[in-house]
Symmetry: D2
Subunit: 337 residues, 4 copies
């Protein structure tokens, strides 16, 4: 039984994480932290946990967590705040899966450029493993720190990896057009996530400027062995959860659709959570699950990749548990099937 | 052409009001006020008004509005703030339709009890006409101040008026169970109107404590000529607009459904915006319109009234224009058909 | 490991049942039947089961199921068809949990009256246990046939049981006003469940005529020891899943809210899936779970009970597994926590 | 007063058309046809028209329509059926605006290829004007037949016209990624538009095979004076109405965003219903209106055009009235502002 702390327990990713871990036979949640005043019962913040998790939210205190026997911490804090807290646990030997963006970009200059502040935990940044298990999974059993990936990047990375791995497409001008449910924006009320504003509405946001872009480029560059350039447009869709990503790439030679499906099936033969399908999938097929569903089409010589996932599960808390399972030598499907 | 000012232009009721008035052949919007800093173009706050209304939001200033020739003001301000601003216009002879709750309850003690602060414009309160045109419409041509009714009360009042007018039901223990779209909660982001909280969710709120209760009782008491007691439960529904109200009343004698429909058709024979229908209506039938659709059923001796409307139009801005039309001697359907 | 067959595998309740049973440590799905032509892979009908359940839909054949070792069948067939198939399994000794309405009403005359055809399996009807485990749970370990309850009735029955058990309320004139997500209408496309018709819409349907009414009255009559009369109005809400029920009852003496909460907590002290809460719950609190959340308010002397559940889980497939667990002597929470 | 017939009155575009025409000072609806049995009141099919349009649905009969003085017919029939009916009116001298696809593609071979049947009204096809008023508007005053454009094509055509007109982009490999509300799929219930299937879901459909593709290419080819090639991917979004289209094009030289906005503002200087905006628009900004909102961004050297509209108004019934206004020499904004 691995004793677990969750840092930053009031948001949606923490809630999903808790629900998954409550079904996990080898994990025990012993602490959930929050900056909320007092030490309210977690069920007061998340009524759906009533009768299920009888813990109080408590302020973060690294030594107290250690005294409670915490072996693994999941970070659900905002970027910046995340590295401040997690570095204290890392230096005390706790293993960490960070759901923030703090340890995702290897190059601290990229971090400064996209997040607008300089990175202040370079030592741990250097040892972080980027948490897409289908690509970096072999490094996880020995990792102390896994940087859980962003929700959008996983659809783009898994959707493109077989193509860039084989250098089958031009590495520049790749278009990633994503459609996301609103839970991806977090739990803090804002005007653009106010129900009467975003319901019955579709809009693009952060066109060409979304912080998940360099993540996609870094991981795909690793797979490709050469720089990869992404043009990324996210859109907000009036639904709770789900990301649908449509990718357009220029192949270097002619491909048939069946050839592409075969290429993907082979590439993901060992990946239980990637489903290469022939039909056109929808986000609802992956709803509540850790799967990414992928198919491909060829349109006028271009390759169109269609990939979807549940942004809260596969895009955040599910893949975090998949990473946890790999980190601790468990079957990666545990609690996720 | 009546020159119009709209006070408090940033919310949903103001936006709907502007859209209706832009189609009105006898109304001209000359000013829209707001407490927003600077004097931004209204299209910056409401992008849907781009190219349609070329005005800037301006701070409220009674004399300046008068100098601009304003003859009628629509108040879209929060309660409390509303009477402070509108009293200045009323004393300058401007006619006013107030969409806030400030002038709805004749008894200032009821106001103090339900709104938690004492009323500070008793003079104008005494002359206000409650703005359900099907009931108080005859007083409107001479009124200087119309208190536009709440969204929920209109479904309850119009749904029950023919029954209480004829003393056909017990005046106590009347159950009003309402279901409302989220736009009724206004445009200020809060946790309970945050998309991922209220989407895919139904919940009751303010059970037995909603401020629209005394409005219903006052108007129905007027119609009945005796006190009427309402048990009111509002619910939040994951849709933009629409109110559906289900009412349960104990008849004093046996009624058939056709008898009830006939009673209602007669009562509303002169009311263009009340549709007494035989089928079970849905809020979508009234969407974007100023209609209230009503039908009735008898279940085990109880009368069940089903009434619905568009909460932003009939429930607020549409009925405000209907009241405006009556106030200024125009066909009450103008701009609303 | 109990070998399980699911009859009628193409609808939503079958899909949810399969997902729950895939996580069940003591259940193995060995067959899923359907009248679909050919024997398509179940993943072709339910893409979300791709890679998860490698079975083909097959025509119903009682002997073949027996030969495969089926010990328990879950019926997800339409009423009428259900008793035809299940009676064949019952006579072969298979234990059955029927999610249709066929065995819910003890009185075959009531069945004929509400379902418009006469019952043709009176022998099994006589031995069926009505499947609300909090009330009839003690009969389940020895039952061969459990009639899984309707979605609406569970909120009404569990919401009223403590009150009628103690004869605290008048047994007539009880108003049950329910709001349901659209999945409750099943998977067959119809105009009233066509997205552009029911999205952004609320409407009542089958007012006073819904077939779940006699179920509520039968179970509550059992609890009360006297006849109970329900006035039931269901409404369709634009969301996938969730039922919210608002109940109005006339108490026989004065109650305080805390007294009522205490009464309910005591009554449900041994019921893991009933959560008596102080706050106003929403359907989303129960989403994806087997919980029913209940609270109470007193408004002008009336008792208002507010109860909600996930209609596909607690309202159908979750309670079916809870009943299965009790039937086979397992912890009733298995696979449901 | 132009006397109008609407052919095929049971769908969503007919309903919207009726609502717009009821506000039109120069149009009078004298007949609405349908293949429905009997001659039901139109309010039985569209309850929202209760009290608003007192007509019965009648079978199509060209001579009877002529006898009623019909001068203009709007066709809301399925393709194929549309040309059969409309050709009868055209030969009788009635002017026609066809909302089906029958007269959109000038090349009957293209029609046969994309619609799977040969065209059987070549004479009228040869004289049809494609109904994007911002491009073909000058031909409308003398046209007898306007082929109202598809919903998707208008966002693509108006979104790209200024770029292809100036030969500023490569005419091949243009990516058009569209997101549409469900009303675009019509009113016939199908599994993929069944609420519990498409709610909380995003999926692509007809990837590279949607029939609107050749329409886009034909109109843009006209504007460009050279062939234009589109890669088109439509997606279904869980909302009633709205289309958001994201377009990716390769410029032939470097452009700044302000240069592009200026180019578009100049191109659309005379177009009241095209709003070139600086902010990122959402479909809700255009909801219920005849506007198309367009903005542009430059991302890594690519031009990204973002265009949105209300698919039922601008995408169908609104632009049909705009075309009607131009056909009959009226201000094109009549009834649409």
């Amino acid at each position: 039984m691995v004793k677990i702390a969750i840092l930053g327990g009031t948001g949606y990713t923490a809630l999903e994480l808790i629900k998954i871990l409550l079904r996990h036979p080898a994990a025990e949640i012993v602490a959930v932290t929050s900056r909320q005043e007092g030490t309210p019962l977690i069920a007061e913040t998340h009524p759906s946990l009533t009768k299920r998790l009888d813990l109080r939210l408590e302020p973060f205190d690294a030594d107290r967590l250690l005294a409670r026997g915490v072996q693994c911490a999941f970070g659900c804090l905002p970027h910046g705040a995340s590295m401040s807290a997690l570095s204290q646990l890392l230096e005390r030997g706790v293993r960490v899966i960070d759901l923030s963006a703090d340890y995702r970009l290897r190059d601290p200059n990229l971090y400064a450029q996209w997040y607008g502040e300089s990175h202040h935990d370079l030592v741990n940044l250097a040892q972080a493993v980027y948490g897409v298990p289908e690509i970096y999974g072999d490094e996880m059993p020995t990792a102390q720190l896994i940087a859980n990936p962003g929700c959008y990047p996983q659809t783009a990375i898994l959707g493109l990896a077989p193509l860039v791995a084989g250098k089958h497409i031009e590495p520049t001008g790749i278009i990633v057009d994503s459609k996301s449910g609103v839970s991806g924006a977090g739990r803090t009320p804002k005007l653009n996530t106010h129900f009467p504003e975003c319901n019955e509405n579709v809009a693009a946001y952060n066109v060409g400027q979304h912080r998940h872009t360099p993540e996609m480029e870094q991981a795909l560059g690793d797979v490709a062995g050469e720089p990869v350039e992404i043009i990324f447009t996210p859109h907000l869709i009036p639904m709770d959860r789900g990301i649908f990503t449509t990718i357009y790439a220029q192949p270097r030679r002619t491909f048939s659709e069946s050839e592409l499906l075969e290429l993907y099936r082979t590439y993901y033969a060992q990946a239980p959570f990637v489903r290469v399908v022939k039909h056109l999938p929808g986000t609802k097929d992956t709803w509540g699950s850790n799967f990414v569903d992928i198919t491909l089409r060829v349109v006028r010589g271009r390759i169109v990749v269609l990939a979807c996932e549940d942004n809260l599960i596969r895009g955040a808390s599910g893949v975090a548990v998949q990473n946890f399972n790999r980190m601790f030598g468990l079957d990666e499907k545990t609690a996720l099937w």
